[in-house]
């Protein structure tokens, strides 16, 4: 708890600058809005991030063709993706599925992901905070069968990492998608910059990858996801705050900039405080994860409880303080609101995070 470093190093700032530059070039509100009307496949944007900047390989060890970085560096990428609401499967593939594969020991698939050629998705509902008590997919000698609803970024993934119930409990399998016996059905999503899909298996051929601790692997994957989701959320929140601050400065009503009204400026002041403090919580989570500090469980739960709600608040203030324009399809505020609200529900709600936290710090409900 005392060794935490909550600041950013030079290398991290350089990584941030290159990701920001690339996203600024390739992500526009028009590109993002198109995600709602014409959902596309894996974009050129992702190929740029994955191949040119190597973000897909960040958490993969060097000996497996990766970069061998930690959550501290990945957090910077997540922040920038949040700032741009970029429609890329970084969190789902390069963090959650990657950590699941790492923990299970599937080096072969990791090498493919590191090269940025393919993406993977953990076949678990995106709202899950913990491994399933009983997986809805069954592993039998005849293949995988069962249905998983609301899997994030499954529509573009070519590898599905599937928690499945075997004879002796939870197992972890990989399945190639699309493929025989596997159906992925995209569904209209609250946040189309990270679309969800339903996945159905009907005797799908699979490869079992775990070495007996599938539950531990999934738990680690979800924790890494929660830690880095918090950083994405402060990216969303920061950008919403900045857009709003710019707008209230230049919007004139009653012959004054609306940012001169206390009713407005006090809201901005409060939001600035919140967004800044959320940054400390997210950074602490990333830092404890990177250092394998045992406090990471508490840090992740705190960040999950706090940062998601701050991002939603920032996006809601963004819509409200923009007035009518904030309600339009044309203005990007809605893209941030949808991402923020969806992010708040991802990997467990803030309520679930606080329940988990209560157990960790000895404050039982009853």
């Amino acid at each position: 708890m005392t060794d935490a470093d909550l600041l950013y190093g030079d290398v991290e700032e350089e990584l941030r600058a290159s990701v920001r530059r690339l996203l600024a070039q390739r992500v526009s509100p028009a590109v993002l809005a198109a995600a709602y009307d014409e959902p596309a496949g894996l974009s050129a944007l992702w190929r740029g991030l994955a191949r040119d900047l190597g973000v897909a390989a960040l958490l993969i060890p060097e000996e497996l063709g990766g970069v061998g970085a930690t959550a501290r560096e990945a957090a910077v990428v997540a922040e920038e993706i949040g700032r741009a609401v970029a429609p890329v499967p970084f969190l789902t593939s390069s963090v959650i599925a990657t950590v699941a594969l790492l923990e299970a020991g599937d080096h072969e698939t990791l090498a493919v992901l590191a090269a940025g050629e393919a993406t993977a998705a953990l076949a678990l509902g995106f709202g899950a905070a913990a491994p399933p008590v009983a997986a809805t997919v069954k592993a039998t000698p005849a293949g995988l069968s069962g249905h998983v609803a609301t899997v994030a970024d499954a529509g573009t993934a070519t590898v599905l990492v599937v928690p499945a119930e075997g004879a002796d409990g939870l197992e972890l399998h990989t399945v190639t998608a699309p493929g025989p016996g596997t159906t992925v059905t995209p569904v209209p999503s609250l946040d189309m910059t990270r679309p969800v899909a339903d996945v159905a298996f009907d005797g799908a051929p699979s490869r079992r990858i775990d070495r007996g601790d599938a539950r531990g692997a999934v738990a680690e994957a979800l924790r890494a996801g929660a830690v880095l989701l918090a950083s994405e959320q402060i990216g969303v929140a920061s950008r919403c705050f900045e857009m709003t601050l710019d707008y209230v400065r230049q919007r004139y009503q009653f012959g004054r900039s609306i940012g001169s009204f206390q009713a407005v400026k006090h809201r901005l002041a409060d939001l600035w405080v919140e967004v800044g403090q959320a940054g400390a919580a997210a950074r602490y989570a990333a830092d404890t994860h990177a250092r394998r500090d045992p406090d990471v469980a508490v840090a992740a739960a705190v960040a999950q409880s706090y940062c998601g709600t701050v991002a939603v608040h920032a996006a809601e203030e963004c819509v409200q303080l923009h007035g009518g324009i904030g309600m339009t399809w044309e203005h990007p505020a809605h893209l941030y609101l949808k991402r923020a609200k969806a992010d708040q529900l991802a990997l467990g709600t803030p309520y679930e995070a606080r329940s988990a936290l209560a157990a960790l710090v000895g404050l039982p409900r009853a």
């Binding site: 470093d5 006090h266 329940s355 404050l363």
Partner: protein, 396 residues
Amino acid sequence: MTDDEAISADLALRVERLLDDVDLARIGREDFLGARFDAGLAWVHFPPGCGGLGLPVEFQELVDSRLRAAGAPEHLPGRNGIGRGMAAPTIAAFGTEEQKTRLLRPLWTGEHEYCQLFSEPGAGSDLAAVAARAVRDGDTWVVNGQKVWTSSAHTARRAILVARTDADVPKHRGLTYFICDMTDPGVDVRPLRQITGEAEFNEVFLTDVRIPDADRLGEVGEGWRVATLTLNNERVAIGGGVPREQGMIGKAAQAWRERPELRDPAMHDELMRHWVEAEVARLSAVRMRQRLAAGQPGPEGSAMKLTFARLAQAISGFELELLGADGLRYDDWTARRPESVDYTGRGAGYRYLRAKGNSIEGGTSEILRNVIAERVLGLPAEHRTDKDIPWKDVPR
């Protein structure tokens, strides 16, 4: 050896020499502090002769920790914070050589405890509106007026005072800053009983108080600039260096843990929300210190104070609800005059009531939001109707 290492080695030597020169077992607190002052080890960033050595402030910690380890006498806890924290840097910045030599040593040793005569019934958030008048009479000034919210006025020997010396110019330009002798017969200190029942603060009535011109700090009419320096040194309790579950949340969590019969599942999520917010505030304080240490000072101080006040109020209110019927009891309404204040001391009822002051004292939360919005975020300033007119013509 780098410069820093050379300075550290020299300081360590000076501390050793100071400790060699005194008999720690016998020397009194004031005498030791005097010797420490004379050795330049009171505040190392002050000039030589003023209790310092003209070094960067970072070296103070080395001196403090070594003296602490040696068991040297320290200042009385909770006493003369205004003197050391606010008056001293102001005297060091604006005092003449004569004033620095005369005033700083007794301030440091605790012989002269200081209080602050700034706020008035008509000048709270709008501090530049002070109405206490100082009129020149030869080599002295004659002061009349009323000050309020003065902690330690009943024990202080000196005060820093802002008074109006010119009513015909706009409010910020007609103020002058003085060091006031609290033993002057014209100073009448009356306890100001507050919401908690105790009298932590005072009202101070000034009637024909005579202040020698030698105790004026800064130029006549320069009082606002001098006072601004004082206020910039006003330290805010930000929850310190700080283990988890300090402050109000520690009290609420303790009650939840130790009294299972109080646990209402309907209150659990609120408890955890408070816990999370307190932890996030703690992490923000840690980060603020890391930024300072890395040479990246930021404007987070005002954010910390806003958050501290909000959480102290919310959590102390929650704690009373958690206690239920027990929350109906209050520990003591006696009009006591506490020597120091502990926001989390005493009972839950006291904590709840005292916390109400946290969003008022040292800058209200509303003023702090203005400060953040205008100075940090660069939003346009409030419209001011009193800025360019003589103080005497401002509506009141």
